[in-house]
């Protein structure tokens, strides 16, 4: 029925009323003249029905013979619609323009998504592809997918594989990240392990090379701890890269005081500005300053598809440099906070055995710490190759 109605709409049809005379005779005459009638209703001696355009022209004779007066109620369908609006050139032009715009824009890429990346930022991948010509607004048919993929893979060393899938106006860049090969330690360069700080040795574990110190020895910065010279069984020596760890008890001290006066930038005003983003155009709504502003881009996503329309929100913040004077209480509190931050940073990889922290009247925090830490530091050997002089007999 829906399809039939659609066909009737395309061909056009007329709804009419017929009154007076003999309705039955009128219907029979229509049937004999092969006039198709539908939606035939009879209410209070008035027949209302529908017929197609060609049949309506023939209906007059049937009406005359049956003594009925026929009157058109309404004309339906596309032919009548076009006839009604044929003088409205603007509508036709607008419809054609709209169709042309859709046709042209549907051949271009308006949405580019990156999937499969974990550590490589999508901005980097999109930037590389933009340099290679894959960006919003380019014609999809002009992109040479194979060569673009190859060139992008050459530029992005972090990726092991990538693929561009273009579907309509959407391009999806699928990537696989490369697994970094482990760095191979060059064992062929002879080196010693020397002390990086002063301390008393508590543990010494040489994995490669010869231990030159014993537990309990006091060492100063630069003392040899593990030597890269190994003595062989035949009393000859060979050079190697010393490996191992040397834990020593060391002393550290730290102090911090917050200055009473300092200059800080204070935000005094913040303004929001918006930029409309449509296709590859950006339409600013107001005066936009790029200094001291940050922007957030919001895009319209429907069913996982990013549409080429959105809004960029820029927040401009004006800062004023101001000298700040702290009260004694605040100064002490800030000193403490900064001192604890410094301690957390300094002793992240150390074990603190003992700590003595004190604060004086001016708010200065100072601490003396006894730590256990690996003080071994690699130091390359200075070697000179002996020259073999060959003397020719006269």
């Amino acid at each position: 029925m829906l399809f039939l109605n659609f066909v009737r709409f395309l061909l056009g049809y007329v709804s009419f009323t017929a009154r007076g005379g003999f309705p039955e005779r009128f219907i029979n005459l229509c049937r004999l003249n092969k006039i198709i009638l539908w939606d035939l209703k009879n209410s209070e001696a008035v027949i209302s029905a529908c017929t197609d355009c060609a049949s309506y022209k023939k209906i007059r004779s049937a009406a005359r013979k049956s003594g009925m007066r026929v009157r058109v109620r309404k004309k339906h369908g596309l032919p009548f619609f076009l006839e009604r609006h044929k003088r409205r050139i603007g509508v036709v032009a607008g419809a054609l323009f709209c169709a042309a715009v859709i046709l042209i824009l549907s051949t271009r890429i308006w949405s580019i998504d990156v999937i499969g990346n974990l550590s490589v930022p999508p901005e980097k991948i999109l930037g590389t592809f933009e340099e290679l010509g894959v960006k919003k607004g380019v014609s999809a048919s002009r992109i040479d997918i194979k060569s673009t993929e190859f060139a992008a893979l050459q530029r992005l060393n972090e990726l092991s594989w990538l693929n561009i899938n273009i579907s309509g106006s959407k391009a999806v860049i699928e990537v696989r990240e490369a697994v970094e090969s482990p760095e191979i330690d060059g064992d062929n360069v002879p080196a010693d392990i020397v002390a990086a700080r002063d301390g008393i040795i508590t543990i010494i574990r040489p994995f490669n090379g010869t231990a030159e110190q014993e537990i309990g020895n006091a060492v100063v910065k630069g003392d040899l701890l593990i030597s890269g010279i190994e003595e062989n069984g035949d009393l000859t020596v060979s050079f190697c890269k010393a490996k191992g760890y040397v834990v020593a008890r060391t002393s550290r001290s730290m102090k911090y005081i917050q200055p009473e006066k300092f200059i800080a930038a204070k935000p005094i005003s913040s303004k929001k500005r918006f930029i409309l983003n449509f296709l590859s155009f950006e339409i600013p709504l107001g005066k936009i300053k790029t200094e001291n502003s940050y922007s957030e881009k919001s895009e319209i996503i429907i069913n996982g598809v990013t549409l080429p329309a959105g809004i960029i929100r820029c927040v401009e913040t004006v800062y004023e440099e101001k000298e700040i004077t702290l009260s004694a209480e605040r100064r002490k509190m800030l000193s403490f906070l900064r001192f604890t931050d410094m301690c957390a940073e300094e002793f992240r990889y150390l074990e603190v055995e003992n700590a003595e922290i004190s604060v004086n009247e001016s708010g200065e925090f100072s601490g003396a710490f006894t730590c256990l830490e690996n003080i071994g530091k690699e130091h390359p050997m200075q070697l000179e190759e002996a020259e073999h002089e060959e003397t020719a007999d006269p």
Binding site: I27, N28, L37, L40, N42, S43, I47
Partner: protein, 98 residues
């Protein structure tokens, strides 16, 4: 007149007997109208030869050998094309007259 009626009755009986023995549909052999009724809302009538009465409450159709009279309310001829008619409405009774 009586002779003619007797002849018609005999012809009907013969056609009925043929259709029954050959398992053929009665409407194709004996020239009766074919009628499909969907509840009390729609009737599709094939073999319609004309409209005898048409109003909001009654539609009477000539099917040749019988006159089918449909009574009800809001009776509408949805389509009338060739010998087929589709009638819709709230049908309360159907009468068959010779």
């Amino acid at each position: 007149m009586r002779k003619r009626k007797c002849r018609d009755d005999r012809g009907d009986r013969i056609m009925d007997s043929i259709s029954r023995n050959l398992d053929l549909p009665t409407d194709t052999v004996s020239g009766y109208a074919h009628m499909e009724i969907s509840g009390n809302r729609e009737v599709i009538l094939e073999g319609c030869k004309g409209v005898l009465e048409y109003s909001d409450c009654v539609i009477a159709m000539n099917t040749g050998r019988l006159t089918v009279r449909l009574c009800g309310c809001d009776m509408t001829i949805i389509s009338m094309q060739g010998s087929q008619a589709i009638i819709k409405g709230t049908i309360t009774s159907i009468e068959f007259c010779n």
